[in-house]
Amino acid sequence: MQFADIIFLIIIFVTMIGALVTVLSGSIIYAMIGLVTTMFGIAGIYVYLNAPFLAMMQILIYVGAISILIAFAIMLAGPLYKNPKEWTTITKFIASLVVSVFSFLVFFKVIMHASWMNTKAKEFTVTTKEIGRALFDKLTFPFELISLLIIVSIIGAIMLALLSKGEE
C-alpha cells in the first residue's frame, strides 16, 4: 500500500464520519459542523480526481458561503439547539433507516451489475482552461440559465425579507 493510498483512505473515512455526524447528531449546530467536515473531505476527493479547481470551488462555495448561511439561519431561527431530541419517535427513525438501507441495496446492485465503458483512468488532466472552454463553447445555454436562476433567487430572497418586514 502506497502513501497516497493511506491519505486517500483517511479522506474517505473523514467524509463518511462527517456524513454520519450530519445525519445522526442530535442538535443542528453539530449537523452543520458535520456538513463542513464532509465538504472538506469531498474537496480532498476532488483533488484525487485531478480536479483541483473544483476542489477550491467546493471549499469556497460550500464551506465559505452555504454553511455560513445555514449558521445565520440557525442563529436567527431561535435557540433550537438547546433541546437535543431531534427525532420524533423511534418508529419513525426505524422506518427511515429501512428506506435508506433498501435504497442503498438497490443502487449497490445497480452499480455492481452495470457495465461501464472503460474504468481504467487515462493519464489526462482536465485543466481549468478546458473547463472554461467547455463553459463558453458548448454549455453556454445552461451557463446563462444558471445566472438567470441565481438572479431570480437573489430577488426572491430580497422580496421575502421585504414582505416579512411589511407584515410586522
Binding site: W87, S96, T119
Partner: protein
C-alpha cells in the same frame, strides 16, 4: 505501478457517493426541523456532483463536461439554500417554530 493505487478505481467513488445519498435520504426522512432537512439535501447534491466528476475522470476523460455540471450543481445548491433559508426565516417569524410536521396551514 499506477494500476495498484486504490484511488484509480471507479467503484470506490461511486460507493462514497452512494453513502452520501443514503445518509441524505435518512436525514431528509427523519429530521424534524426544516434546517436539518436542508442540510440533508445538501448532502444528496454533493453525492451527485461527486458522481459527475468520477464519471468524467474514468468514463470519458477527453472533455470537461462532467466538471462543468458539477459547477452547475454548486450554483443550483447556492440558489436553493438562499431561497430555502429565506422561507425558513419567514416561517419562524409567522409560526415561532420551524418544525416541518406542525406547519399545516399555508395562509391565514
Amino acid at each position: 505501478m499506477t494500476a495498484t493505487f486504490i484511488y484509480n478505481n471507479l467503484y470506490i467513488y461511486l460507493f462514497v457517493a452512494l453513502f452520501l445519498l443514503c445518509c441524505g435520504i435518512l436525514g431528509l426522512l427523519y429530521r424534524r426541523s426544516l434546517i436539518g432537512m436542508l442540510i440533508s439535501v445538501e448532502l444528496i447534491m454533493n453525492g451527485a456532483g461527486l458522481n459527475f466528476v468520477a464519471f468524467n475522470r474514468f468514463v470519458s476523460p477527453d472533455n470537461a463536461y462532467g466538471l462543468s455540471f458539477a459547477l452547475f450543481i454548486m450554483g443550483i445548491a447556492a440558489a436553493e439554500a438562499a431561497i430555502a433559508l429565506g422561507i425558513i426565516i419567514l416561517i419562524f417569524r409567522k409560526f415561532r417554530h420551524i418544525e416541518g410536521q406542525k406547519i399545516k396551514e399555508m395562509k391565514d
